[in-house]
Symmetry: D2
Subunit: 343 residues, 4 copies
């Protein structure tokens, strides 16, 4: 039985590099910039050494982490950082001012947690047709096309195929792709924007092994913008069990010390180490307590898969949060792509 459980059959699915990085990551590869208490940017350069370690492609990964997006001030702050980072990526990739951009909004517009991409595309300033029709376009405006290719379940067509045929037809100089991601942590949901230049695997969310769209495969730069909007139910179960140990550890310590049991919160739980001994853990939760994180998740995933629980976990305010994120990202893309835009 143990053998079976210990077998790490698969990694927990996460699309976020920030969830893979180790504390002892080489300082040359990682740069963190703290804007304020609620806003932080981490840039990770994955080179050939780091590639294997993180199981990620070589390239730049920018993670913008923020604590809130629901009020105006936060939206402005996150938006400013986002614009700065998109521009940095555009420069780094050698994209010039009049290179045509194709913006792709991945995901299903009719499924709230997966609707960010189509939402952004709906809000984007589109200009390519003006150039095509010979309209007089203001200086500083770039040629931008934008489309939502839909998802296979509603179009019957592989997203990859839709994208590739469009690229072949309209031949943009670079792509910007917006997608909803899965997170392996509840804390990041709707609170992280990840930018990379390493390409995308459209439809990979479904679990199939889809083809890659990247500089390597299509010959033009691809800027991928992702926001985690859901966690799998596996995650919330295993996260909760972990916090459970910390919770019990806390109670035990304070109980033993005859102190009043005051309410602790997430910050506290994150700060303390889970100082239960293995014996105590075993006492509390038996074999479960002895399992590694990966093993525990595998076991939970195994159960949930047996149950055919096709569940997602999202915040109650998901519709509102997605709407706010869509606005910040759409406006940010507009301002990054065009020199003179004012909206």
């Amino acid at each position: 039985m143990k053998n079976r459980i210990d077998l790490s059959k698969y990694q927990v699915r996460t699309d976020l590099i920030i969830e893979n990085i180790d504390k002892d990551l080489n300082k040359n590869n990682i740069n963190t910039k703290v804007i304020n208490d609620d806003l932080k940017v981490t840039t990770i350069n994955v080179d050939d050494k780091l590639m294997g370690k993180l199981n990620k492609k070589i390239g730049t990964y920018i993670t913008i982490e923020f604590s809130d997006i629901t009020n105006h001030e936060d939206r402005v702050n996150v938006g400013d950082v986002f614009i700065e980072q998109v521009r940095l990526l555009i420069d780094k990739l050698g994209i010039s001012e009049d290179d045509t951009c194709l913006v792709l909004g991945l995901g299903n517009k009719n499924s709230t947690a997966d609707s960010l991409g189509p939402l952004v595309v709906d809000k984007i300033l589109v200009t390519r047709h003006l150039f095509e029709l010979g309209t007089n376009v203001k200086e500083g405006i770039r040629s931008v096309a934008a489309i939502s290719p839909g998802v296979m379940a509603t179009t019957g067509i592989e997203t990859y195929d839709v994208i590739i045929s469009l690229i072949n037809k309209i031949k943009p100089k670079f792509l910007i792709v917006i997608d909803s991601l899965a997170s392996s942590s509840i804390d990041r949901i709707n609170k992280t924007i990840q930018l990379t230049d390493t390409g995308i695997h459209p439809g990979s969310g479904v679990g199939n092994n889809r083809r890659e769209i990247s500089l390597d495969t299509i010959g033009i730069p691809v800027i991928a913008i992702g926001v985690p909007t859901v966690v799998e139910s596996t995650i919330i179960v295993s996260d909760t069990i972990n916090y459970l140990f910390k919770h019990l550890s806390y109670i035990k310590n304070n109980y033993q010390m005859n102190k009043l049991i005051f309410t602790h919160n997430k910050d506290y739980l994150d700060s303390v180490s889970d100082d239960l001994s293995l014996a105590e853990k075993k006492e509390i939760s038996g074999m479960l307590g002895e399992l590694s994180d990966a093993a525990k998740r595998n076991l939970i995933s195994e159960v949930l898969t047996s149950l055919d629980y096709n569940m997602i976990v999202t915040p109650k305010e998901i519709d509102f949060l997605i709407d706010n994120l869509g606005k910040v990202i759409a406006k940010g893309i507009d301002k990054s792509l065009h020199k003179v835009i004012d909206n």
Copy 2:
């Protein structure tokens, strides 16, 4: 001045063949089937002789006219006729039971009067991915893909280009295309479905001379399904002026005969001829009364164009009507394409 006005510079734009047909059309080319007082199907076979006369491509044109779509019974009746006619077209075009279909919803989902195509695509049963993924699909289910290519104003890409690149990639055996049309008559708005096998000119609504998607150009059959959802403001002005003459004619006759002036309605006005003499018309409306319909429309269009009035005329209930039409057409397409479907 007269010379100028009489010059018929252009035809009033209509996408509906039924609005072009003459009373003395050859009986061999036209077949009308009256289902009930509120439902009628007219099939017009345009051959090389008729082609020039009607300024329409050679092919079959089926016009389903109905007086209401807002209650369940009417929806069922219109739906049944629609399914029958789509099936007839499919048979006529030699499409076999397992030919893959690509359904295209033209128009702008965010503009109510232009949203019918995307709405239908949203409701269509999509199955192509099941075949592609090797899923076991029930006997009698056809492979169907469906996508809304958007409009150039919101994607920056010519709709024609999006469609052609998809067709080249996924190689369907035939197309079904749904689009919102312009009518040259207020009476037809949301009360007519036109089916043809003569192809489409995506984006032609904008006034540009776009390329054709038809059996001739892409080598596979194209079934176009169109519903008039708007009339141009030119139409409502000239229609009203015409009815004005009938109205005044009626009042004059009844006034002279010392009869009570009872309320007349549209049916009455449609049934009576406008029996004002040319002199009377001239008395009532001067030169306007002498103008031919085409000349009058040109004149009105000239004025409205000068004014840059980019107006549309729709019924107040447009949102509700489009929703009902979308349901009837989506369900009808499903039932026409698959043998065993039950929804």
Copy 3:
């Protein structure tokens, strides 16, 4: 016949005072402030003398006219003027900083042209529950409730009844009401915001004689915010006929003078007077040319009513325009009501 036509049975419906004002209106009653070429504010104080003349209630009427709302800069400018005017009204009405406000969004959210009110209510910052629940609310934030009472056709309840029962229950200190209006001019559609302190007649659009909600009837100030989003089809027909005369007048003059016929536009047509003599008008359009505007509209309305053409005329971009207007008005209300708001 003439007698019949000349009878002005009813006024053309307009909800906008600006469309009723005369050129020789007393300068004491009217104040116009031109912000820039595209933005103008007209304040009309209707006193007991003006009341009869304009057929409007005694009170303040503020009309903000703008030429565009589709780009960021215009939205900011219109928004700033709007906020300033709402604040002026609030001050004038003696509303104090901590008076509770109830915001009402009239209209049908499912009918685009009538959806402005519900749209604004959806975007408004609502705070009343925080005060009720005893939450600690930031200084400078007012207690605001907001609700869309729906329309009788979809609720089965008179809008007036819904509003009155809510007012009696929650007892706000003043109301802000947002509604879509009808215009008697195509030019104003989505290009005018009217503010008044004279109250509203919910449901009056339907043609019924509904009860008034105003300071007089409910004892608290009512600020009504209206935007014309449609014109009746009668208007477009009669407007077009009027422009037709100017058009023909222009052509005639230039034709007689043997000049080249160059394209004229709306500004030109608005600037020139229609200098056709009555005889010429009669020549061109017979009796129609002799009719007064009111008589002409009555006649056209009579025809369209006979035809049961329940049509509205709106710009093609109505969905987009309403969305922009909703944002400007919602944000403007927030900034007018709260001292410290920043979104």
Copy 4:
């Protein structure tokens, strides 16, 4: 520590009586009708004895359980049962054919998982205004009004207050109230419709102790229709832990018997008892294994509350499922309320 954990501070929140019933419930109080493998109706009559046991009000509770709602046939079957049960309740409550009904759609239309009530109200046939306006209404049509009072977070007004003031104003003879519920079991989400005549506590979802709307308090019958659309994250964690024991139990047994480990599924897990001994459970999961369900949930809830994880768990297809449920319920209400309706 144990003491603390064992303290059952509160019940897990569930709005569904079916989740409270015991296997040894008196046969007089419960009646189960199996329509087919996928459809079942359970009627529970809570009397004064059962009241205390189930912690539910005296009255009738009808639970319709179904396995799918996504295809046409299932929708028809569920719809038929739903109509039958609503009619039974109407009869039982002594409501006569021409009693006016007010339909209330509780919940937040802009939050998918909470949008069922407003969605149903949007689709309901509304007729009260026809009676009020003196329109000639077809025999067999009842007077029905329908409104969505919104939620306090978006209106700033207690839902209870909105409802009570409307009832006082329009004085219906009975209420039908539709609301989204929380479930204590993942399996029921979007797969159960509960009907009761015991009234509602609007806004109770927020955790506050709101006032009741019921026959007792407002003097007219109240039919409440609820569908569980979410479970709290607490539930999924504790459910998973329970299934984990069964899973491990299964593995252990089959492992010991040297059998092949074949895949089991939910049906299997539901059918087998968790036959681990207490010692084995303790071995596997320590103290966690020894806790009662209630204690386990309390512990988990305590942790998640500390973390301020305001999470909901829903199926990935929530948007689609809610849409289907809304159609079935709206059509069912129409057919239950009117004798002659056909849509």
